[in-house]
Symmetry: C2
Subunit: 351 residues, 2 copies
DNA sequence: CTGAAAGCGCTTACAG
DNA sequence: CTGAAAGCGCTTACAG
């Protein structure tokens, strides 16, 4: 019930007997304030439990933050990556103008050089923060080092990079993801059945983290003392024919009851099974991509383990937003839910 | 590259040769503007594709919107409802002050009177919009009618009310939810097995929409020509002992291989199964509640079908936000994903 | 080291 | 029917 029920900075200025400009200096930790004044203002801020008004802040400030998004380019097997983009834009448009400038840098996930080219391009642009999908390990490490040097904040999505510490990691707990699959598989097979696990990737880097999935997968069966034989293969190929050749050969002397493809390429196997009419072999994969979903609908894929790309993008953007604009603490490790998608629930999955 | 690169309203005013106050009047469809002036301004707005700056709007406006949330009170079997609350508050705090005043009106889901009391209380408060969980059908209809009369916007969450049209419905496609369960069940049982479906609720109203779940459930087996016998029961009871009595009696002459509890009370059955050591009977239920999760962890519940309460709350709030503050079109029907929660993926579910 | 003043893009009385 | 002016809570030159 004070007479002068002033607002934030003004009230601080009044109580401290200074101008709001001085308050602003303290608020932003700028130089040019006498130690004594500074302390006084700081204590008043604390006392008032002052929270700046973000709306006013953004409205008054001319500062525009530049964020870059360094991810795989959209391609038939990964329309996936189109989605985080809209997720981020949605977040932006929802609440008005936050003075953010977003730029996309798409590279080819099967081409190391394109990653280098795009990341170099990005580094020249004087960007504040970047969201990266670390597909190529060493290249990402170099990139991260350059970011640190240039004081660019980076957020990893999808997978982590050993011994590199981003502002935040947004993605699944990879090992646990393997366990979820294993648990589902238990419902699909009989004890003693044979399971085939496939890491299908053109570049070795990715299979690195795919192996963690397999660890989780195998560990589950050990933990639950479930008897089954698991054979796993890294195959560095990525098209129909090569898969067919591999499968033909494999099925010649093995009889898996279930196949687990550790990344988004389950549709390659599904296609093979469909062409050969091998309905009795169960199939589990990852990733909400149209080609996978098509086979899910037809019943050639039983389960898909997914994470919402839109939400992942949103959270990654939010991490940068929190850091630069809201100036709040950012959560270092943000595990995404490990979603189970089936023929019956995929329709509403992206909602 | 104009000399006068003025901002929104100012630029409109300049071009129309009027003051910004007049522009404002047109923008808000207020009276007191000559038809000719109005048309001119309108055409300029269109021409410029003018989008108001929400930040400035909220900052300048003194208007505070009052939203009410009329949901079940937190109780041991539904901590669930505690969560939408934080979801909404999170949405609010994330992007600063939007001039929204949220009030909660918790009723007892087993007590019709408490709903009436709380909804009456709410109606007296001169509220702009309200989020409602329509647990009691007729009472909700009356409430909706009163809202319409008082020009209060209402959003339904969790379930719909026949022939009542809210600003938006946020919740699952109930029939499809039943289908998802049925699909999972197929992995849990053998052909010819017997399935027991239980609608456990104290009040009849709720079981009404639960019956839709059963329709979806049964339809799935018909569609896939899967042979199994499904027995379903509406039991209007809600505690341990009554469930025990029912189960004892039922298991005397029937041998279900799987039990599907259509609402959040699967834990009651789980407890029974655990106490009797009936490990061989599979159990599927709904709702991410600690009591269900506990049994999920122990393996007495195989699957829980859930929807993220936090997201549901967030979306419901967003619907009101869009309507009142952003003044955008609101999506009438917003189906939530039908999530599958297991022992292995529940940990990250709420992230 | 400090302050007065203008401005961000809107809204809101108030005056005519 | 219309406009001039103050203000929302901040930031940003600029002057001293």
């Amino acid at each position: 019930m004070k007479v002068s029920e002033l607002s934030g900075v003004k009230e601080i200025a009044r109580r401290a007997n200074v101008s709001i400009a001085t308050v602003d200096r303290v608020l932003h930790n700028r130089t040019g304030v006498a130690q004594k004044t500074k302390e006084k203002i700081l204590s008043i801020i604390k006392e008032m439990d002052y929270k700046p008004n973000i709306l006013a802040k953004r409205l008054a400030s001319k500062r525009v933050y530049k964020f870059g998004i360094l991810i795989q380019k959209e391609c038939s097997e990964a329309e996936y990556w189109n989605v985080p983009v809209s997720g981020i834009q949605e977040a932006l448009s929802e609440f008005g103008d936050f003075g953010v400038d977003l730029r996309y840098y798409f590279f080819d996930r099967d081409d190391r050089e394109s990653f280098l080219a795009k990341s170099d391009e990005l580094l020249k642009k004087h960007i504040d923060g970047v969201i990266v999908a670390p597909i190529f390990l060493n290249e990402t490490k170099d990139f991260a080092a350059k970011c640190t040097e240039k004081r660019i904040q980076f957020v990893f999505i999808e997978s982590q990079v050993p011994s590199v510490h981003p502002l935040s990691y947004i993605g699944q707990d990879i090992i646990q993801s393997g366990r979820v699959v294993a648990h589902l598989c238990k419902y699909l097979i009989q004890p003693k059945d044979e399971i085939l696990v496939l890491n299908v990737a053109k570049e070795k880097d990715i299979s690195n983290h795919l192996e963690e999935k397999i660890r989780g997968f195998e560990q589950f069966f050990i933990d639950t003392s479930y008897q089954c034989s698991i054979k796993s293969f890294n195959i560095e190929i990525a098209d129909d024919e090569e898969i067919t050749a591999f499968m033909e050969d494999y099925l010649n002397h093995q009889q898996p009851k279930l196949i687990y493809v550790t990344n988004s390429r389950a549709y390659l196997v599904a296609k093979y099974l469909k062409d050969r009419g091998l309905n009795h072999i169960k199939l589990v994969g990852n990733g909400y991509h149209t080609r996978n979903i098509d086979f899910l609908k037809e019943g050639y894929i039983d389960f898909l383990i997914c994470q919402k790309p839109l939400e992942q993008g949103y959270k990654a953007f939010l991490a940068l937003y929190e850091y630069f604009i809201a100036k709040r603490k950012v959560i270092k490790l943000q595990y995404m839910p490990i979603d189970i998608v089936t023929k019956e629930n995929y329709i509403y999955y992206e909602n």
